[in-house]
Symmetry: C2
Subunit: 149 residues, 2 copies
DNA sequence: TCCTCCATGTCAGGGTGTTGACATAGCGAA
DNA sequence: TTCGCTATGTCAACACCCTGACATGGAGGA
């Protein structure tokens, strides 16, 4: 059953492989982050927040491509674990700017190492030029699919 | 907000772009298939069933990388709409081989055209060689991430 | 023969993400 | 000033998929 049968032209479809690759990466990241009790969305949130501190819930949601509601749950979980702080009252407007706590920064550091390890494993068979090419190709796919260019 | 701000090194991460590309493709396929009242898993099921008729629920699930339970729901929906037939009693063993009905084949034909259109749009900026290279690169990523080589 | 192991289909429960909706706070034009 | 318009945070309901579990049917070894 493994792969001896007639697999059909599915393996020749870019869409099929794209999904397979994304799923494999997601699974690998998930298992790598499990010892830290971090899900992939939680890690993504920490990473974005580290690069752009003070982002509001809605801005974070847009950056990670989820809804505000989902990001709110993620943020609340991180908040309860003391990895992220959010003021109880909005400094101006309604946006509550989130920031990493020192514990959050430490957790992110180890998590980032693990994730980078996974990416390195995935990109092992590539040369530096090949990696850049893949990056460019994926970006081209996204651009071609995005309606409002 | 669009993309003028400091996006940080996120756009340089292959994992990030992989996820973005897969999400964009999924969304595009979903909107393309919406007029036919087909979800992406339903379409995938029809496509696999067309290439390998008589597959059982469990085999279909493995082919599409979902659980038997999820595939069972998909299959039941397709069955209720008359696109797929499944015998009520197993010819042998417990497996119930599924087959496309003529209506299912017709629906798949138009759906397949729409999906192919989306893929064509995504691959527009690529040459034939570039497309093959992308295919090969994605397969390499999957292989590098899959534990049991 | 009988018995153990494996695969299949199915049911129940939980987790996670989404859509829809609502109240509130700032901004800009009449 | 006052009236929309937009954006934000939050609640509820729903859908989807997964993990866990169970009963049944076949195959292979003692």
């Amino acid at each position: 059953m493994s792969q001896g049968e007639t697999v059909g032209p599915l393996d020749l479809s870019v869409g099929y492989l794209l999904k397979r690759a994304a799923t494999a990466l997601r699974t690998a990241m998930d298992t790598a982050l499990r010892p830290l009790d971090l899900t992939v969305p939680q890690y993504s949130c920490l990473e974005v927040l580290s690069q752009r501190p003070g982002l509001s819930n809605a801005e974070l949601a847009r950056a990670v491509f989820v809804t505000r509601q989902s990001m709110n749950l993620v943020l609340r979980g991180l908040q309860d674990r003391g990895l992220v702080t959010r003021p109880t009252t909005a400094p101006q407007g309604r946006a509550l700017p989130s920031t990493l706590t020192p514990a959050g920064r430490a957790q992110l550091r180890t998590a980032s190492g693990l994730v980078r390890e996974v990416e390195k494993r995935m990109l092992e068979p590539f040369s530096a030029a090949g990696r850049d090419g893949l990056l460019r190709d994926l970006a081209a796919c996204v651009d071609a699919l995005t309606p409002q260019e």
